[in-house]
Symmetry: C2
Subunit: 345 residues, 2 copies
């Protein structure tokens, strides 16, 4: 495979570097597509994009179930390829196969205090959500530093995140400034958050979090009948009993999905008004949404099947991307080692 | 340089593996010699001995002064060679040049909780001693895990430590058992502490801690006149004013040093009795100690000068040792990665 970047034709200044990725803990779903994959497909034309299969990070809270993490590396990669991430344009790489990342993490661990980590609002919230209390694995407490290692290793200046992850970017830039101060020159660039246009897509049951384990997700590999069934089950307005009744838009999952995916937003605005007046049935809307989702997921499913027929070449894509990523991350590590005057053998 | 171990002639079971090392924060002194170097010179004939130049660990509390850490890598190596550590028998290697160590550390971080680390008595004590309070660098809190990575990476079963470091061995073996349980077979051996025969040698002023920065150390590169001067300044019994007075042995640094280094312990026992009766002057004892220390340090100083004349070959010794260590540690990392089912590219 031809490397997608060539220093002579693509100066760094022209193409900003973007780092994104996913923990490999399960196949991706339509929420991932809306929140990030769709954007990555667009951004790969204007950015040097690295996508990290974050298996090492996934282990920070899955060490007792490591098979799940390894088994999903290929699944997530297939989802990437299915969604239209093009390995000729985007570097897909495996986190645990990049030794520069733990090396950077260990150096950065010296720059951040334990109390600073404990104050990190994202960590605080996730510790609460996972019920860790005082039994937080040290790796979990340290993961904002590992993320800073990821971001800086690729010299990423653009990092797509949700609102809740802004403290991670802040932590990263604190480290960047410490490294640059130690080197007395700009070794690492600061990163900027790219907030996703859409918030989190709710589950088909209306719950805020969509996940395979909750059974409320539409996976990117869903069959036509699975999509149809999911849309049929979708939560709407429980008080909208007869077609003639006025219906509510807010909290109505069908409208949330239509707002996210309907290519004809003008027509959608009219449907919303009609629904609120009364006289528009849920079935009509669900039929419309089903058609749209089939159009979104259908081609992905086909691409997924095509790639899945030759898993060796999928592995090759990860191998090639990881090789490229190794060069980039080792170069950064060399610079950071110099900043901290590490002894050169 | 010929590698000192050859799998066909030296089965692992015959030669136990020993890991020791020093933080590269300053030249070594006679206290290091008594507490560890002297023993290493003996152990290298019966063990596969690895000695780690622990520059990465030194950074955990020296990140604001990294030059000190790098500058002392060659100094400490010269001290090793001067003390009689033979690079044909002992593998001298540079911690920061072994990427398997941070990789193992990051994996192990997932196995240990933050509260378990905070309960570590050594860490507790060192946090207090360094005045870190709540501003402990995360790297410092995590360093028992980094030490577990060091010990297990070399598959060391013998680890020379002071009494105060026993919790480190305990922490290491907890991790070993977790890894073996995850693999469902013995991937890593448990380690045993080798307690040093001698406690800590006090400074020449009688303070418990000997260190270059306190100005109370006798360095292994001290000149003949520096040794003489240090012995002359040595704290004895402040109430022993006249030769005829009875003198105290306890807390008398000259006797502490004589107990540690005098090759004729029978004669020393008589001198002690004489001193306690009265009639034995400090100067006689200091003259005796001076002669002994000159005999200990003189040959080291000469060997040091000989090695220092060819610093390229000293660097080569570190390079060769680090290459050997890389093979060993990468092999262990591969096994541990399998234990946690990491995806194999």
């Amino acid at each position: 495979m031809k490397p997608h970047f060539q220093p002579d034709t693509r100066p760094v200044a022209v193409r900003p570097i973007i780092l994104t990725g996913d923990r490999t803990t399960g196949p991706l779903h339509i929420g991932h597509y809306l929140g990030s994959l769709r954007n990555r497909v667009i951004l790969q034309d204007t950015h040097d994009q690295f996508v990290l299969l974050a298996d090492a990070q996934a282990l920070t809270d899955n060490i007792k179930n490591p098979d799940k993490v390894a088994d999903n590396v290929l699944e997530v990669t297939l989802d990437y390829l299915a969604a239209g991430i093009d390995p000729e344009k985007t570097t897909i790489c495996l986190q645990s196969a990049l030794p520069a990342l733990p090396e950077l993490t260990m150096l950065y661990l010296n720059l951040v205090t334990v109390s600073r980590l404990e104050r990190n609002p994202t960590i605080k919230e996730e510790i609460r959500a996972r019920g860790f209390e005082r039994d937080i694995p040290a790796g979990f407490l340290c993961y904002p530093i590992a993320q800073a290692a990821d971001i800086t290793a690729f010299r990423a200046t653009v990092v797509p995140v949700g609102e809740d992850q802004l403290p991670m970017i802040e932590q990263t830039n604190e480290i960047v400034r410490r490294v640059n101060r130690s080197a007395d020159r700009e070794v690492l660039p600061e990163a900027e958050a790219l907030l996703s246009e859409f918030g989190r897509l709710p589950g088909i049951d209306g719950k805020a979090k969509m996940s395979k384990s909750l059974g409320n997700a539409i996976s990117l590999s869903a069959s036509a009948s699975e999509i149809r069934k999911a849309v049929q089950m979708m939560y709407t307005d429980p008080d909208h009993l007869r077609v003639s009744d006025p219906g509510k838009i807010e909290g109505n999952v069908v409208f949330t999905y239509l707002s996210a995916f309907d290519p004809d937003q003008e027509a959608l605005a009219e449907l919303k008004a009609h629904y609120q007046r009364g006289g528009l049935g849920d079935m009509v809307l669900k039929e419309r949404l089903n058609g749209i989702l089939q159009d979104v997921i259908g081609p992905m499913r086909e691409r997924r099947h095509a790639f899945a027929r030759d898993m060796d070449s999928v592995r090759d894509i990860i191998r090639a991307g990881t090789s490229r990523a190794r060069v980039v991350t080792e170069t950064t590590l060399g610079e950071v080692r110099k900043a901290f005057r590490l002894f050169q053998l």
